[in-house]
């Protein structure tokens, strides 16, 4: 069970990208066009619930592309925020499903800056509560 990886699988299942093609897990040094997810800090346990913080970064073909990718993902996060969902298993990496998870968006889209090839990088933050 790796909640951030399971979340990428959920995005793939909802046609918001393809894992390892334009959805990357913890591979920020890759330099490819797409959306990256990274865990931030250690998971926080409160009672029986565990909170995982994450940030997503988008590097697009141009300055609009990356923004639009994150916009679609953020809209999807708001759509599922009010419900408890099951994060699907990731067969490629033998990651089991995460039941009763809540995805909470924490920010709007933020401009991080330009990368070395002058492509805009955008970010959003969120939490997975299991």
């Amino acid at each position: 069970m790796i909640p951030t990886l399971n979340f990428l699988q959920l995005l793939q299942d909802n046609n918001l990208g393809v894992l390892d093609e334009d959805l990357f897990w913890q591979e920020l040094a890759l330099g490819e066009t797409g959306v990256y997810i990274a865990d931030i800090g250690a998971p926080i346990t409160r009672g029986s619930r565990i909170t995982y913080n994450f940030e997503m970064y988008a590097r697009g073909e141009d300055k609009v592309d990356g923004y639009q990718r994150l916009q679609a993902i953020l809209a999807f996060m708001y759509q599922i925020y009010s419900t408890t969902c099951t994060l699907p298993p990731v067969p490629k990496y033998d990651a089991l499903a995460v039941p009763k998870a809540t995805i909470k968006p924490l920010s709007t889209i933020t401009t991080v800056g330009l990368d070395a090839e002058d492509r805009n990088i955008y970010s959003i933050s969120g939490q997975i509560i299991t």
Partner: protein, 112 residues
């Protein structure tokens, strides 16, 4: 009858909270630094780390194995007769600035 002060517990709770906030903020600066850093060989990106110094966290890129981290950040002249001019990418500065401009409440929320 007296009132027991819980000031000590409250203070220690706040210390833990702000330590977590610092952990989250330094983690975000590091991740943003990695994604914006030059990636010719990926050595520079993979060299990023958070170090503890005097009880506080510092985001660092570069050491003996990646001595060019500083010139990639700040720019300058290098090579034979200083003929190669490198334009600073400011990958670490813009990562820190992007975190600084955000609402600190977000990082507190991520730490609770």
């Amino acid at each position: 009858m007296g009132v027991a002060s819980r000031m000590k517990q409250w203070v220690s709770g706040q210390v833990v909270l702000f330590d977590r906030v610092e952990e989250v903020m330094s983690g975000v600066v590091l991740m943003r630094g990695i994604i914006t850093s030059p990636k010719k060989s990926r050595d520079l990106s993979n060299n990023g780390r958070v170090e503890m110094k005097d009880g506080h966290r510092t985001v660092k890129f570069g050491d003996d194995s990646v001595p060019y981290a500083r010139i990639q950040e700040l720019g300058g002249d290098t090579g034979r007769n200083y003929a190669t001019h490198i334009i600073g990418k400011h990958y670490l500065q813009q990562s820190g600035d992007s975190v600084k401009k955000e609402n600190p409440k977000k990082f507190v929320d991520m730490s609770l």
